[in-house]
């Protein structure tokens, strides 16, 4: 029995391979397994090659897994286009379309797999409903060979096809059974059956963009302004369907600048506002971030990172917008930057972002990434009844009685904020430097005080240890720091090496900026070696940390450009090697 399986599948657009992956994940989740699904497509608008990676486990999973246990190739051209996204090794079982044999009869894989099985998938499909049934045949094969929830797959299929009538359902069932029969007639050399899942109380399934949009609703988002951009667009799409019912509103704007501008306007009007974009959009929104900073207006800006610069790699993972999030824009400005590490995290991080924005009257950037935004993941049910929403500090009647000062210098740097509609709270908001009342002021002493106020107000944020996750051995001399979707890979790698007896600890910051110097320094204390793991060529978090705190010489960046994600097995190997190295 096995407890964890990674399946990668590729085919042409019409093969429905991604739909098969989704059906399998749904069925596995309904049966009680944990799992996740990542999808990858070629650059074509329609058709072209498509693939998915599916991981199913009896235990919670933190990432899409390492090398594939099972690879399914409906044709080799399409499969090979995904390269490092669908890695096989000497343990993998490779299932491929029989008619897709290469001219020399050899498998086009660098490493010979553990087992290679040619299956007449297309021929079986044609005998049971035609070419379109290929993906259903694949589901039958996988279900029988690996013991993956056949009843649940059939139940899901019946539900999905209900509207199409009993004949369509019967044909699909036949195709599925034909695949399963073929598998039973041709058993694997070594059986690999999944262990049954533990009983669970409810399972949820979501992708990062969808959960972010729903989290915004829970967090009280009243307004969304934005512009379509891959891979963030689904956030706007979901909210354009859902936000109205809660009394909210949405503007799909003429450009990225107008998208964030509309949010600045809504926030000035006292509403909780959010925009979402990706790197190129962030570049355009930069000036407005500065405006929201100096006018001290709450605002949530989600950047679903993709490969850059410029158009870069619109559909691929990269974590290279951290410098931009922290430092883009002119002038002395600090704005909080948060990053989820998984789909599940997208909920708490989105709620935290709204709360931090409102509490500190600031734009907050959420650095999601392509992987989190698009992958589907099982989650434990989230209890929204305990979610606390923070409101911006409103003026008291005393504040409003004669000479309301919007930018009053208070001990904590946070001034009561009024909004149009509130009598007595009239003020001038401005991008120009201003005094406590809001009147334009260009004096140096005032500018010093106001800058101090706008940056100093974040001091309490730096003490929030709940925005950091620390796991592992407190007495280890080896440590890992990782953020965003790379963090889930590193957490699993750390678990694996600790089971082997190595002492390691890991820090996962959800708050990346301003740099919580004390929390990072506490973690690094006692470490002589370690890795800062991130999917950016320059190792942006590593460099930012170096500019704020003393990082031990033995703690090095482990990073590379995007589109070639880390795997737990790779990080495990790095940690093992590092553990054996003596540091002078």
């Amino acid at each position: 029995m096995i407890n964890d399986i990674c399946i990668g599948m590729a085919g042409s657009g019409g093969d429905g391979i991604v739909a098969a992956g989704e059906a399998l994940l749904n069925s596995a989740a309904a049966a009680g397994y944990h799992g996740m699904l990542t999808k990858s497509f070629g650059p074509q608008i329609r058709g072209g090659e498509s693939s998915c990676r599916l991981r199913i486990s009896t235990q919670p999973v933190l990432n899409p897994g390492s090398e594939l246990d099972v690879a399914v190739a409906l044709n080799w051209d399409d499969f090979l286009k995904f390269g490092s996204e669908l890695p096989t090794d000497a343990r993998s079982i490779v299932i491929y379309e029989e008619s897709a044999k290469t001219p020399d009869g050899k498998l086009p894989l660098k490493i010979a797999p553990g087992e290679a099985i040619a299956v007449p998938i297309a021929a079986i499909a044609r005998a049971h409903g035609g070419d379109r049934a290929k993906n259903t045949v694949v589901l039958g094969l996988l279900s029988a060979w690996f013991g993956l929830a056949p009843e649940s797959i059939l139940a899901g299929m019946r539900k999905r096809l209900k509207k199409k009538g009993p004949e369509v359902i019967a044909a699909a069932e036949q195709a599925f059974q034909a695949g399963a029969d073929h598998a039973r007639a041709n058993p694997l050399k070594t059986a690999r059956l999944m262990a049954p899942p533990a009983a669970r109380q409810g399972v949820w399934l979501a992708d990062g963009n969808d959960l972010t949009a729903a989290a915004a609703i829970v967090a009280g988002c009243d307004f969304f302004g934005g512009y379509p951009i891959t891979p963030s667009t689904e956030i706007m799409q979901t909210l354009s369907r859902d936000i109205w019912a809660y009394g909210g509103s949405l503007l799909q704007c003429e450009d990225e600048i107008a998208g964030i501008g509309a949010c600045v306007g809504a926030s000035f009007g006292g509403k909780r506002a959010m925009t979402a974009t990706s790197g190129p959009g962030m570049s355009l929104k930069t000036e407005m971030l500065g405006l929201a900073t100096i006018a001290e207006l709450p605002l949530v800006v989600v950047n679903v990172q993709r490969g850059g610069p410029a158009t870069g790699l619109p559909t691929k993972l990269e974590q290279a917008d951290l410098f931009q999030a922290c430092y883009s824009g002119h002038g002395d400005a600090v704005r909080p930057v948060l990053a989820p590490t998984s789909v599940a995290d997208a909920f708490r991080v989105t709620v935290d972002a709204f709360n931090i924005a409102e509490e500190f009257q600031t734009p907050v950037i959420v650095l999601s990434d392509q992987e989190i935004s698009q992958r589907k993941e099982t989650l434990e049910p989230i209890d929204t009844s305990t979610v606390q929403l923070v409101e911006r500090r409103r003026p008291t009647p005393e504040d409003l009685a004669g000479g309301y000062k919007r930018f009053k210098l208070t001990p904590d740097g946070i001034s009561p904020i009024s909004h149009p509609g509130l009598a007595g709270g009239e003020y001038l908001a401005a991008g120009i430097e201003h005094n406590e009342s809001g009147a334009p002021a260009s004096g140096g002493a005032n500018h010093q005080r106001m800058t101090e106020k706008r940056i100093g107000k974040f001091a309490p944020l730096l003490k929030r240890r709940e925005l950091f996750l620390v796991e592992g051995d407190a007495d280890a001399d080896l440590g890992i720091i990782s953020w965003g979707s790379s963090a889930g890979i590193c957490r699993e790698a750390v678990q694996t090496v600790r089971q082997e007896g190595l002492k390691v600890r890991i820090l996962v910051p959800y708050l990346l900026y301003p740099v919580a110097e004390e929390i990072f320094s506490d973690f690094l204390k006692g470490l002589t070696k370690g890795l800062v793991v991130e999917q950016s060529y320059q190792g942006q978090l590593y460099r930012i940390l170096r500019s704020f705190i003393t990082v031990p010489n033995g703690v090095r960046p482990y990073c590379r450009a995007g589109a070639n994600p880390f795997r737990p097995s790779e990080i495990v190997a790095q940690i093992r090697a590092l553990a054996q190295r003596s540091v002078p």
């Binding site: 749904n26 309904a30 649940s152 139940a155 899901g156 409810g202 399972v203 949820w204 399934l205 979501a206 969808d210 729903a214 989290a215 609703i217 829970v218 307004f223 109205w244 019912a245 009394g247 909210g248 509103s249 503007l251 704007c253 003429e254 107008a258 998208g259 501008g261 509309a262 949010c263 600045v264 306007g265 809504a266 009007g269 006292g270 509403k271 506002a273 000036e287 500065g290 405006l291 006018a295 909920f347 099982t378 049910p381 929204t384 009844s385 909004h419 149009p420 509609g421 009598a423 007595g424 709270g425 009239e426 003020y427 001038l428 908001a429 401005a430 991008g431 120009i432 009147a439 334009p440």
Partner: protein
């Protein structure tokens, strides 16, 4: 707020304008005070959004909620504000550079969405705050500090631009005719939809001598006197072609049957979609896996 909503003085703030003595924007400011008094809404129910430039300083000289934003972006900010807070009376202001150069891309979209906004552009055919450069409405051939041998470019026609995109209310005024300008702004504020008022506001420091207050007064050609009542959009566009040559004042076009505004449609959708009054805390329920 102190003072009555129908008293222009109620809307005057304590800030002293940075404008040059004799600047046309002083007259525009007076007209805004008077128009707001004529409307009679309390200061806290009014928001005045501007971009960057001499004229964009105007919200600070009023007692309503003001927002002096960034260059060229007043319209998107105002639309977000109005969408989220439809009960507010929202004015937008800027100069010709703010509205038709750096922010020119926002104007068509503000018009086609048809929020209930009143957009006043103080058009002086020059960049004043940066001291005298070529602007999008500077006449061709004009010498400025960045066109020292004369400009090569045809100017934008703000009136035709807004009429072409379908603005429901398009007018032109000048502080040289203060009662006329006040009436145009008031009518724009009362128009239910996007209203655009181009104001020929002379720049005394860098502006063309023919565009000064005294010269304007002599050149005024009220549209009403020409027999144009503003109900015919095509005729309004015909007259608007004379922008830069004839100083027409008055209403080029006022849609006699204004369509619903964006804000109205938003409210209708909210009422329709929200009739079951869903609970925000249940927004995640749809993620539960059921077979």
């Amino acid at each position: 707020m102190s003072g009555a909503c129908n008293d222009p003085k109620t809307f005057k703030s304590d800030l002293k304008p940075i404008w040059c003595p004799g600047c046309g924007d002083f007259g525009v400011l007076q007209a805004v005070y008077r128009a707001l008094a004529a409307i009679g809404r309390p200061t806290h129910e009014i928001a005045f959004i501007s971009g960057i430039g001499c004229s964009s300083r105007i919200p600070g000289y009023t007692t309503v909620y003001g927002f002096n934003t960034v260059h060229g972006r007043a319209l998107p900010i105002a639309q977000g504000l109005k969408t989220a807070n439809p009960d507010l009376l929202v004015l937008v202001a800027g100069g010709d550079g703010d509205g038709f150069s750096i922010g020119g891309g926002h104007v068509p979209h503000a018009i086609r969405r048809n929020h209930d906004l009143t957009y006043i552009v103080m058009d002086n055919q020059i960049y004043g705050l940066t001291k005298g450069q070529l602007s999008p409405t500077t006449p061709k051939g004009e010498t400025t500090v960045t066109s020292p041998y004369g400009s090569f470019e045809e100017p934008v026609n703000p009136l035709l631009y807004c009429l072409a995109y379908g603005a429901g209310y398009v007018a032109q005024g000048t502080p040289a005719d203060l009662p006329g300008l006040t009436a145009l702004i008031e009518e724009g504020l009362r128009y239910p939809g996007f209203a655009f008022i181009n104001i020929q506001s002379p720049c005394v420091t860098y502006g063309d001598s023919e565009m000064q207050m005294k010269e304007q007064r002599a050149a005024l050609r009220p549209l009403l006197a020409e027999g144009h009542d503003g109900s015919d959009r095509i005729k309004g566009m015909d007259l608007a072609q004379q922008y830069g040559r004839t100083l027409h004042t008055g209403v080029f076009y006022r849609n006699p049957t204004p369509p619903p505004t964006y804000d109205q449609l938003v409210r209708e959708r909210q009422a329709d979609q929200g009739k079951d009054q869903p609970d925000r805390r249940r927004a995640l329920d749809r993620f539960a896996v059921r077979h």
